[in-house]
Amino acid sequence: MSLTKEQCFDQLLRSHDVKPEGKSAGWLEQIRVEALASAGALNFPSAKQDDWRFTDLSSLFQHAFYPVDSIASVKLADIEKFLIPDAIRLVFIDGCYAAGLSDLKRAGSGVTVTSLAERLGDLRVEENFGRHAPYKQDAFVALNTNFFEDGAWVHVSGEIAAPIHILHVATCRDAPSAIYPRCLVVIEPFSRATVVEDYAGLNDGIYFSNAVTEVVMKDHAQLQHVRVQREEKNAFHVGHGSVKLGTGSVYAATSLAFGARVSRHTLHVIQNGEGAEMHLDGLALIAGRQIADTHTLIDHAAPRGRSVQLHKCIADGAAHAIFSGKIIVHVGAVGTDSVQSSRNLLLSDKAHIDTQPQLEIFNDDVSCKHGAAIGQIDLDALFFLKSRGLTEERARNLLTHAFAAEIIAKIPVLSLVESLGRTILDRISGVRT
């Protein structure tokens, strides 16, 4: 069955009728109603919208996605390969909390890591949920906000050394399914944490993972935020992150996109507090007919903010990678220091990369630099490696891996650096694990 774009959207909206009643609260019902209304009004984005003009979603629109109506039976062994040793682990299967697969014993005092649905009565949840992600402007965020079953609730007051691993796993049913992962992270003043958001699938069925994450960093909070998108090959993944930064806070994000047939990640970071710092590193590594789109927006809305961004795309086969990085320095954001770099590696003649760094500056006293480069494997380096006995393929793989490794190395969780390093080696050499 092949649908039109409108039919596909209607199907997603209709799933509301059969959605089982989950836990709720009055304030949330209000938000859900608004979200459903705005989803209906917004519909899917069109290619005429500037933010979507490079991103071909037509393969998504062909499918009818159904809500997940039963909880899949997943064993720990099934998700073993995704696990991070010594992490605080929250596992969601098709958007539903899997307590039996989660491991919260390392969460000490001052740290809450749990199911969102179980804490709807928590005032801190109510104060933050849906207040940052733009469900009135973005149809995907609206769909998620209305349809999400459950999500991660991370609240940190103090310092926690163990990484908090939020693992969203799709099981893939007989019919294409739509799942709505959700995360809410609040880091209190002078508190520190590492959060790993992880999106994966268990088989190559068709599913649509539509994720939303909200992060609130209070004054002088520090967060290392890793996002791994390693969905299965027939998956569609659309993710939105909204991050608010308080005074003197430090936000370091490393976002990786390896998987999915089509993926889009939108990250919006707002520097609301003076002197906040953000480091945004990203890597898209795709092949075949994959499409991976990363849109980032950094709003310097307060003085003396600092942002450093490095985004890399590696596209092989007939893949299409997109990067759009906008930085806005608002009136009053004096002393802003911003550096953005987009570096891209094309591995085949049929691969395609669009990169669009954009700076909008509304005051004088700033230092902003940005640059973009698209290249192929360096032929001098290739010849050098061959002259040392490496085959052409081995040499290409080594150089590609090295290009990717710069981003992987920024991940603050060593076991993840190692396991993802192996994953990208396998991807690069064409061995799918």
Partner: protein, 256 residues
């Protein structure tokens, strides 16, 4: 050391080659036997760097005539990596930087590739570290360079030393040093030369491609060849280099 009885490593006959449709090598003849040290000198544009790159298999150059055999095998039938595995080594004039690949990882990968090709055991990282710690003494390199990305942030002299370290690890039969002396201060030159000398044996050979006589004070050649206009126009002993240093290249060109 000249020994007319020793086996021929490389035999080049009437070699012609072009880059981007322009003929650079116009008939080069050269025979190198095991145990010999050769120097190829010449002005910029004489074809000496092209010659070394053609032998190593650089893709920009096209062989248009003549032949080259390496231990009896047709060199031009081999891909660049096969030439390396056969024991040919090129020390680059401008060593490339490879961010993200550590020096030790590259050395081990290259070493193990050659080991496998020769039907020998690969070394694991610990075993290889023992080997490489010995080898870096040859070029008096600080072990901290092993953990750094290949040539990234290295000075000119460090890059050249790194090339010789690769030579020390890979133990080629024939090493071509393409302007290895350029950009070296006198101390680095001495270290590099000492390293090369320590690697010389009666089983291998070295070709130094150089502009200046300076390097030849430290690595004494058995033969000095002068290239001009894409040919070897003169061959002599080490005294030819001194003569070139004293008189320049013009008298040769005039004579040719």
């Amino acid at each position: 050391m000249i020994n007319k009885e020793s086996r021929i490593l490389l035999e080049v006959k009437n070699l012609k080659a072009e880059v981007a449709g322009v003929e650079i090598l116009k008939g080069v003849d050269l025979t190198i036997r095991a145990g010999e040290v050769h120097a190829i000198m010449g002005i910029n544009g004489s074809g000496k760097s092209t010659f070394s790159k053609v032998l190593a298999g650089h893709p920009d150059y096209t062989v248009t005539g003549g032949s080259a055999t390496f231990e009896g095998r047709d060199l031009f039938a081999l891909a660049a990596e096969e030439r390396a595995r056969a024991g040919l080594f090129l020390a680059f004039q401008y060593p490339v930087e490879i961010p993200g690949v550590s020096n030790s990882a590259l050395l081990r990968l290259a070493y193990n590739t050659l080991q496998l090709d020769r039907g020998l055991e690969e070394l694991d990282p610990l075993e290889f570290d023992d080997l490489v710690q010995e080898k870096i003494k040859v070029v008096e390199m600080n072990p901290s360079f092993l953990g750094r990305s290949v040539n990234e942030g290295f000075s000119g002299g460090e890059k050249k030393r790194n090339e010789i370290l690769q030579m020390a690890v890979l133990e080629p039969k024939l090493a071509i040093l393409d302007e290895t002396d350029s950009g070296l201060d006198i101390d680095a030159l001495r270290i590099v030369a000492k390293g090369v000398n320590s690697l010389l044996s009666s089983d291998n050979a070295v070709v130094m491609v150089t502009h200046y006589q300076r390097l030849l004070n430290y690595i004494v050649p058995d033969y000095v060849h002068v290239m001009d206009g894409g040919r070897i126009v003169r061959t002599g002993g080490k005294e030819l280099a001194l003569e070139l240093e004293a008189r320049g290249y013009d008298w040769l060109r005039a004579a040719a």
